[in-house]
Symmetry: C2
Subunit: 428 residues, 2 copies
């Protein structure tokens, strides 16, 4: 078979990994696809920069059009990140009949439909396994492994930075600020950590997963997002005491035919498989009507894990080309989007209140819950040795979030409640 020739847009961490795997596993790649796979050209910012791998200098270029217009390149691998110019390069490559493999979650979350439509128009493949949960082949699993099932819930720990921070806070009793600083020093968090800690990165990945899992065109605006920056040491301590771990979960749910997608800190019961996913690891829990509970666990980022997914996509591109079916296995969401707002969703809640330590307060609080038809699973009241106020911990049964909002409104003026310290979703 004719060799497959790839052009790489970017030679950062992940791009370097792709070069290493393509070179190191050449023999296996030939056996699997029936054709050799070569990297013809690589777009870099500076050709003369020193690099950790040896690349023939004639392979490097500072001009993207040398790749996009290259007559012999079959597939463009985009590992630059960001929206522009990545989007333009990909669209131009597709319009010239080149297949695309990308690791770009931001781009796929925001412009996935445009890119997939352009691919379909030109009979090209677009694969993006590496865009969610790095080394975990979750996109293949949703599209092919569960092709026959109806998925009703996807819960993901899909951001390694926040999971590292929450794991350290849980294991060491450290504060958010201290662990974030440490994570930045170790390179696990960026100098500006906003996109990770405020849940935006996770929201982009959940947009992609929800689209694939529910066959609905989910857009980033549909995702309700809350990050981890306001989580306190105390919250985590209480969670542990009650048998929970706090995790930043992306949760996509389908009920009847309407869906909701959220990202929020969640207390996960220790017996749930997501509770023991620690450090920078990622995991995606999928609940299907027929299959029941499944979970997929692995590295969410890193040079070689992410590159593994990219090269697996290159193998798929090569197989499709060699079989003459490129662009013919296109994923098209075919269901109408019906959204359930965050308020319309039911789930269990954890609530930590500081209350006056005097008779009758609990009765008043219980009455508010009852008025809004929220029933309680457990209540724990304890004196706080450092504080004349008592601490009251409440876990509700599944409760409608509109009702929960009304409960919280009533609490603001309820005599006897000093303050509501925290409210979390509970899973597992």
């Amino acid at each position: 078979m004719k060799p497959i020739k790839a052009g790489l847009l970017g030679l950062g961490t992940v791009g370097t990994g792709v070069v290493r795997i393509v070179e190191g596993h050449q023999e296996d790649l030939v056996m699997q696809t029936g054709s050799s796979l070569t990297i013809e050209k690589i777009l870099v910012k500076n050709r003369s920069k020193e690099r950790s791998i040896t690349v023939g200098p004639d392979k490097l270029t500072e001009d993207p059009w040398e790749i996009i217009n290259h007559e012999e390149i079959d597939v463009v691998v985009e590992v630059m990140g960001g929206i522009e110019p990545a989007r333009t390069y990909i669209l131009e490559a597709l319009s010239r009949g080149k297949h695309v493999v990308t690791a770009n979650k931001d781009l796929m979350a925001l412009h996935g439909q445009e890119i997939l439509a352009k691919a379909a128009e030109n009979g090209c493949d677009v694969f993006y396994e590496a865009s969610v949960a790095g080394g975990i082949p979750i996109i293949r699993t949703l599209v092919e492994g569960f092709a026959s099932d109806r998925i009703t819930k996807i819960m993901g720990i899909v951001n390694g930075t926040t999971n590292y921070i929450l794991t350290k806070m849980s294991q060491e009793g450290a504060s958010y600020e201290d662990v974030l600083k440490e994570a930045q020093e170790l390179g696990y968090a960026e100098a500006d950590p906003t996109s990770d800690v405020e849940g935006l990165d996770a929201a982009r990945k959940m947009t992609i997963l929800a689209t694939l899992g529910f066959n609905v065109n989910v857009s980033l605006d549909d995702v309700s997002v809350k990050g981890i920056s306001s989580i306190s040491k105390e919250d985590i301590l209480y969670a542990k005491k009650l048998g929970y771990e706090v995790k930043l979960l992306g949760i996509a749910e389908r009920k009847d035919d309407s869906i909701s997608v959220t990202v929020q800190p969640t207390m996960v019961n220790r017996s749930h498989p997501l509770a023991s996913v620690n450090g920078v690891f990622n995991a995606v829990y999928v609940y299907g009507e027929a299959v029941g509970e499944t979970m997929f666990y692995g590295p969410g980022a890193g040079e070689l894990p992410t590159a593994t997914s990219i090269v697996a996509d290159l193998v798929a591109v090569a197989k499709n080309r060699n079989l003459g079916v490129s662009g013919r296995r296109v994923f098209t969401p075919y269901k109408e989007k019906k959204l359930r707002t965050a308020e319309q969703v039911d789930y269990k809640n954890f609530m930590l209140l500081h209350v006056e330590d005097e008779p009758g307060v609990l009765a008043k609080i219980a009455k508010v819950f009852a008025q809004h038809e929220v029933s309680l699973e457990s209540v724990l009241q304890q004196p706080n040795p450092n504080n004349p106020k008592a601490e009251l911990i409440i876990i509700t049964h599944d409760a409608n979030q509109a009702s929960m909002t009304k409960v919280l409104e009533d609490f603001q003026t309820l005599d006897g409640i000093d303050r509501v310290q925290s409210v979390y979703r509970v899973e597992g």
Copy 2:
């Protein structure tokens, strides 16, 4: 597109699940494959038996040849189990150009090569996702998701019966015999549990996984097997005390170019993701050179989980037929088989000894380890209140198993050792 017509061989638990999913998810199946999927004929032992689903009586047949020779049937789904007559039916169906989907691990472990060769000869697809770990799409993951990587280790909890028994023993401190009896009453274990508890079922599944993961033609004879029937309450108690759970693990390893495949009770460190896989759940842990640690978790059996995998395979058959590429994505192991015997493998060992409680015994024992170049990670000696003998627990560093055999031989005649109660592999 022309509809896909399936014939079912068998209408037990899993067959019933297939009928339910094909009927219940018809609309989604049409959207995904572009053609409808119907079940034309079902082979049963007794047409007049009462069933939990309603099937048109003209669909049922007691004659397999009505399916195998049926002009319009495109794909035969084999869910009868056992070697014969399933093997003959499948080979005959393939030689008539019918695709095959099977959940039969015994058949694929013993006659997989013969069946795949017959499929290739006739341009047919054979898929068998349901044969290992029921609802977990692990075969797709190994073949496609990790296509670009070199897998070096696969560890699987691939038998739900034994995992249920070990989980109960661990959680309730119950004996093997009591839990087995309970499992039999609940239908989790068969009246003759040999195939499960002696590790044969797990060995068959590991044969399939090792073949796919290492691209080597592994046969069942290559697997060294030990079951769980000799595990005592005490072993599990000690394991827990030291931070381990006892699991029946299938372990396939590659080192340099030679492989080993074993099934054996193993102490798994509690921090390892396999340690918290409980009850009838299955999980497969895959270590790849590039991707690192990953794990895939889900139901290992059951009507609907297993049927999910079968219908996902039917979707793949339909897509391939509609694209005109049936039988062209055949998996062929292309690497030469080089086996490492169980003795040539290195791993950590746990050992529980009953020894004389007197000076010098530990020194003698330590000397034996040193002579055979086995180094020790930890040693715990404690008096046994019910016994004048002391209990000595030893965990070695990675040790060659040939050396471990010599250590155990020497212990048989060593003055001061009363008996070696148990020896386990240690992982994690």
